[in-house]
């Protein structure tokens, strides 16, 4: 069964209409509003729950950690990244009603097409690791934003290091 229509429903349920990132409202609703997804910084986080509630999206985003970072032009996971993803896998294997969209991103130091490919490699690296930790492939989709959606805007390594990321964005709909 397709998980996307349900993901779309969640967007509405979370009251994310205040979000003014138009890419969040494509027909398939790619990315359903994890703080720190492509729209980080201007997403209304109401509805993500209390981070102290271990089953909430807020808990996943803030305590488990919704993202992993990559070195320049790399898509192999760092030790820190693998540790974060082990936590994600554990959470996802417990909270099985969520589907995920994994967003891959690159910093601005690269050409547009190459960065789209690089973002997809990063998203796939996360997906493959989560699969290896027992998360069902059918719950996950990947999307690359290349260099189109930086969260930090300066042009130094301090910002670049945060933009080279893969973000695991939760949505409802995996229980089917």
């Amino acid at each position: 069964m397709s998980l996307l229509p349900k993901a779309f429903l969640l967007v509405a349920a979370l009251g994310l209409a205040a979000c003014n990132n138009p890419d969040r409202f494509g027909a398939a609703g790619a990315g359903a509003g994890g703080a720190g997804g492509a729209g980080s910084g201007f997403i209304d986080t109401t509805g993500l729950g209390d981070p102290n509630d271990p089953t909430s999206i807020a808990h996943f985003n803030q305590r488990v950690g919704d993202r992993v970072l990559f070195p320049v032009d790399q898509h192999t996971l760092t030790a820190e990244g693998r540790s974060t993803l082990q936590g994600q896998a554990q959470w996802l294997n417990t909270n099985t009603s969520y589907a995920v969209i994994i967003e891959g991103h690159a910093d601005e130091q690269g050409t547009r097409d190459y960065n789209l490919s690089l973002g997809s490699r990063r998203a796939a690296a996360v997906q493959n690791f989560l699969i290896s930790q027992g998360v069902s492939a059918g719950r996950m989709r990947t999307i690359s934003y290349g260099k189109e959606r930086p969260i930090e805007v300066c042009s130094t390594e301090e910002c670049y290091s945060k933009n080279r990321r893969a973000v695991t964005v939760l949505s409802v709909g995996a229980g089917s």
């Binding site: 729209g39 601005e108 050409t111 989709r141």
Partner: protein
Amino acid sequence: MSKAYFPLFRLLALVACMALGPLAASAQNGPLRIEIIDGVIEPLPFAVPDFVPENAAAGDYAGQIARVIASDLTGTGLFREIPREAHIARVTSFDSTIGYEDWKAINAQAVITGAVQVSGDRIVVKFRLFDVFSGQQLGEGLQFAGTPQSWRRMAHKVADAAYARITGEGGYFDSRVVFVSESGPKNQRLKRLAVMDYDGANVQYLTDSSSIVLGPRFSPSGDRILYTSYATGFPRITLMDVGSLRTQTLAEQDGTMTFAPRFSPDGRRVVFSLERGGNSDLYMLDLGSGGLTQLTNAPSIETAPSFSPDGSQIVFESDRSGTQQLYIMSAGGGEGRRISAGQGRYGTPVWSPRGDLIAFTKQHQGRFHIGVMRTDGSEERLLTASFLDEGPTWAPNGRVLMFTRETSGAGGAAALYSVDISGRNLRQIPTDGPASDPAWSPLLP
């Protein structure tokens, strides 16, 4: 798609072209000639007095057409206009010859005269080109006709003809550029497709900014545009009919990303990248049959494909060697042979419409460059350098490249620039706001 957008080419009248008799003996091989070669050249001084309005309705256009012609020619960096204030002679009749001595006195080596007539929904523009120092008309007079709204196109056609006669190369002024119009802050960029005349005039928006659009490309006849769109929520190559603005998602397969599309020279096929499981390879889609052919099969990134003008080969970028480099393969697919040999990373190769050169983006030591090399990788020349220069597209005559230049930092913004393949004449194209990803149309019919 919103009704607010104008169908693009419907507005453009069919432009008729007809030769007029020469006033003086034709001097096709006269001494007035710019040889476009590398190195510093002295721009050729020319004059273009206001065209003669042959009736009252033509009055509005007569001066404006002359200004657009002057702007086209000076914009190449190959010509220098003698300002109107310096003109001694006054041109009051299209059919009388010019007073060569008056133009010689102010050192105008070429003079373009013309006349305009407007009746109802029709404008007729005539022109002649004179070689002042040999005292002869250069080529025959020409006449273009269309609707008054297309007056700028007729000015571009006059400039194209003058450019071609003086340089011996094809012109590029009567052409359009499709690009991405940008707005909003860097972490929340809005993008929409737009088209404009090559000089930034007559902008029309083709999409709204509700989803990311990237890398538009014209079809060889200019009637369709390929681009990458996030409208479905995922990156997908999309085909737009320019007349109706109808769009169609191509090669849709669940769980894949498709991007970097480009037309074959016959307009019947699309070469593009398809990503599955983090691996991007090149594919060919036959637009007629919908048949899909895989062209490369490697664990590396293969993207940014571009056909040779004869359609037999494809240049593309791959990081199979460890970094982005340029390769050429048969249009049927295969391993390909590497052509880039210098230090640094090479991407976004584009084959020249003449077939002789590949333009590319190069990254080296933290800087971005636009460059050209021969198709065997030899004679690499870097034409620009900045924080971020990217994505060259060729003018229809293969003499000029347009590309994206983006500035750094929180306030960084993209703009369109052009540069001659000699590296001279770097210019910013005027746009209303930030702009990226230009793609030049062929010369309009």
